[in-house]
């Protein structure tokens, strides 16, 4: 049997570091010792495989989880999940969560004095289809203050969580909106050194997928690590 291959490793500048002092919470949480290199063994190239069984019928539509409709700008967020070789990843479980249209999370730890929306929970799930494509319906989240400094505001964003095909492809990230003036001063967004890599976090207004008289669409493709060309050690 051919040796299976491991997964490629991203250039350092294309992922954030652990220590990024402008984001103050990293200071006491980033390891100070160098990471120990781990060869990709069976433990790393396997990983949890979940698909449709984890997704309820309305999990992909965050505007239909309550009796009434949430306030705010209804949007469609769609895109394709693929690996670094451009291969689509079908049946990938995706989880999202976000603030409401006033910039408030439905969460005990969120003290921002903005209103909760009784018709918006802010959590969703879906799976990619056979071509790796996915689609959520939600409302556009707003900016909110977050205490990193006395006048720190997070740009509007939606959290995304994906497993991919292996333990090492696990990705939790955030999607931002094009043209947001807060991006320039957000340390979380700017923690990735490479400017082109940062732009992968910004979705694109998609007038083609917009549904007239109903909702604007944004396209957000997500790229997970792909297989390496060389066999894994062992």
């Amino acid at each position: 049997m051919d040796q299976p291959t491991g997964y490629n490793r991203d250039p350092a500048a294309e992922q954030p570091p652990y220590l990024y002092p402008d984001y103050r919470s990293t200071v006491l949480r980033a390891p100070k010792r160098p990471l120990v290199p781990l060869p990709h063994t069976l433990s790393e190239i396997t990983g949890p495989v979940y698909g449709h069984e984890k997704v309820g019928p309305l999990d992909h539509d965050l505007t239909r989880q309550h009796d009434g409709e949430p306030l705010g700008e209804r949007i469609i967020v769609h895109g394709q999940v693929m690996d670094t070789h451009g291969r689509p990843l079908p049946d990938a479980l995706m989880e999202i969560w976000q603030a409401n249209s006033a910039g408030r999370y439905r969460h005990d730890a969120d003290n921002h004095p903005a209103p909760l929306d009784p018709n918006f929970s802010g959590g969703g799930r879906c799976t990619s289809d056979a071509d790796g494509r996915y689609r959520f319906v939600t409302i556009k989240p707003a900016a909110y203050p977050w205490g990193n400094d006395p006048n720190a505001w997070r740009p509007a964003h939606i959290h995304f969580s994906l497993f991919g095909t292996a333990f090492v492809t696990r990705l939790i990230t955030q999607m931002y909106f094009p043209g947001d003036p807060l991006l320039d001063c957000d340390p979380i967004f700017n923690s990735t050194a490479d400017a082109a890599a940062r732009q992968r976090l910004v979705c694109r207004l998609d007038l083609e997928k917009t549904e007239p008289e109903w909702a604007l669409a944004y396209e957000f493709d997500i790229v997970l690590r792909g297989r390496d060309a060389t066999p894994m050690e062992g």
Partner: protein, 194 residues
């Protein structure tokens, strides 16, 4: 290949992940009355020794026979019905988390080596721009641990021990192991570059 593209950068899970749709099963990979069940009681602290109380822990492991429930594990070893090998826990106000699972079997390592029973673990939290990856090994697997290629690669005194879950003396069912994760400090946990 012309179609190469870069991986989407990681971003922190942030403090509000409890909004995610709840994960069915959570961190109980098996029922507590399963004959093979063990309980891992973990705690995670930051560089000031303060509990990390807003953290998501995910585990991934082989079953008791050392077989992963995944298409790429093609070895002829038994799967265990209902055992997927994945769990997700959230830390409490004291930085504690609780995983009910089984001790996995050995799995192959690089170059004909055998890896001791271990659980792969990811830490997601506010202040972590990407997940931290470590492994839980078991202090009562001395012989297997001595042969484990990953543990053997950690030569600096005192570091290897940070990966060992310690069996709690006072018995009980299921048996309990304690596992501490220290993000910084003199006994900083070994984290891996995967």
């Amino acid at each position: 290949m012309s179609d190469q593209r870069g991986t989407t950068p990681s971003q922190t899970i942030g403090p509000f992940h409890r909004i995610m749709v709840p994960w069915e099963g959570g961190a109980e990979l098996v029922a507590t009355d399963d004959a093979d069940a063990i309980r891992i009681q973990g705690r995670i602290v930051d560089g000031a020794g303060q509990p990390v109380d807003d953290c998501v822990i995910e585990v991934w492991q082989a079953n008791v026979h050392g077989r992963y429930a995944h298409a790429e594990d093609t070895r002829e070893m038994p799967l265990v019905a209902g055992f997927e090998g994945f769990g997700r826990a959230v830390t409490d106000g004291d930085g504690r988390f609780d995983i009910v699972t089984v001790k996995p079997g050995c799995v192959p390592g690089p170059e004909e080596t055998v890896q001791a029973p271990h659980i792969s673990l990811s830490v997601f939290a506010r202040g972590l721009l990407k997940q931290l990856v470590t492994r839980i090994y078991f202090a009562d697997e001395t012989a297997a641990n001595d042969q484990d290629p990953v543990l053997r690669s950690i030569t600096e005194a005192g570091r290897r021990e940070t990966l060992l879950a310690l069996p709690r003396a006072a018995g009980g069912a299921p048996p309990v192991y304690d596992f501490e994760i220290r993000l910084q400090g003199p006994r900083e946990t070994v984290f891996f570059d995967v």
